[in-house]
Point group: C2
Chain length 305, copies 2
Amino acid sequence: MSLVVVGSVAYDGVETPHGRVERMLGGAATYISLAASFFTRPRLVGIVGEDFADEDTQLLLKHGVDLEGLERVPGKTFFWAGKYSEDMNDRETLQTDLNVFADFDPKIPSSYRAARYLLLGNIQPALQRSVRAQMNGLRLAGGDTMNYWIKDFREELLETIAQWDFLLINDGEARMLSGESNLRKAAGAILEMGPHTLVIKRGEHGAMLFRRDSFFIVPGYLLEDVFDPTGAGDCFAGGFIGYLAEQGFDLEAGHISRGDLSRAVIYGSVMGSFCCERFGVERFRTLTRSEIDARFEEFRKFTSF
Amino acid sequence: MSLVVVGSVAYDGVETPHGRVERMLGGAATYISLAASFFTRPRLVGIVGEDFADEDTQLLLKHGVDLEGLERVPGKTFFWAGKYSEDMNDRETLQTDLNVFADFDPKIPSSYRAARYLLLGNIQPALQRSVRAQMNGLRLAGGDTMNYWIKDFREELLETIAQWDFLLINDGEARMLSGESNLRKAAGAILEMGPHTLVIKRGEHGAMLFRRDSFFIVPGYLLEDVFDPTGAGDCFAGGFIGYLAEQGFDLEAGHISRGDLSRAVIYGSVMGSFCCERFGVERFRTLTRSEIDARFEEFRKFTSF
């Protein structure tokens, strides 16, 4: 069923212990949409400048991403550059040029407004709320945020996530948002803020899913080589929402269960792991659905006892 | 079937964010034996001084731990004191008095020598090897080590673990021993050193089991309160070997499978998690086998999809 993805479309410069790329396609909405495109047809809402390359447009179109909501305006596309530590668990931002993204005010095309699924990438909480308000047939809505909004825009963020079904954040953000260092307590506090489902991403250590009455934990996939972790969290989000949209779970009919959500967390983990195998979005150029389903089965194999 | 446990018996002084205990029963062999005692009857080999309290002897005996191999000599029992960081992922050693443990030269009572299972706690590799040589009916032998032996006694350690069926270490030790930062590669390198089974403990992030042709990963149990992580890794070892000894898997008959070992890893995780719920060995005073089996089922529930 129909999915709308909102967030940054960018160019990234990335240095990891495996090498360096000066400029490559990136941005949360790009990664989310590409990952979700293996399950459903995402409709992207974002903004780019005149420098946005035709080959990048073509890559997204080739994956079935609807670009009616991708604004093209005078100026340059958002650019970010960063360098990863030796173990790739930390990264240092070297450059952030917001460019046209500084004035991003997401306008949802009328053809998108009746979509059932909404994934809000990490942007200003007020903008996330304005998107939510433009939609009129949502069954499942949620998204990501980051430490900056949690710390300096707390009230706005709380008002925003109060309307969400799910929140997808990392462990540090969950601790900061809740004020609890223990993740089980942190999750309990966050589920009081509105969302009925909380997904905590833990990078190489996997992910956790919390609902009021249950939780689910999956370890991270054990890659032999992590080339570039950029976008892995967004690909997780894309796999998670993509699978749910593909299955067409209907919240109003009460069809969404812990089992459904757990499998969505596995597909999220699968997409995040593929993302790390090459620089940027490279892995998605050749990835197939059968490779995705094979890795899903691998998760079942190495976690069963 | 019969299990011999070798290692330190000590007194510990511990400070965590939840409180402070000046002196309490501790030591690797103590934790391993107590955890294993819920599955089998461990035979302990260790050394204590004249100050070793009768109530501590009674606690071990009450749990069915055979103490024929616990030497009592003039002098004081090994004492260690440490303080944990706020998140309890790090600890600082405040005091280490080896006392009678400095001259520990494990002598295996004749009644222990035909035991089928051997768990060697973290002691000098040459001593671990001398214990192995005193045993004459082993089916499954292995143990723990630490950064100190890996760094400064490498050749001796390699000679020792070459004779082991399994090695139980943490992720940092696996990286140091193999020289590989990637855990999958590290495991591959370590399995070339002799053991057919490698268990990597990752604290709150769970544990991994590697064999040549397969691997298994389990996330950590999500405790609401970690009171004191002291001994958790040793309790993991005790649950792991205790379950295998209870089941009586017979390596020579080829009865040990990945499934058997995976369930042993879960019982290890269960015992490690209980250990953290109270200071020192306190939790084991009231713990029951039915609580252990219930938590095993909890692991199945929160990891299934």
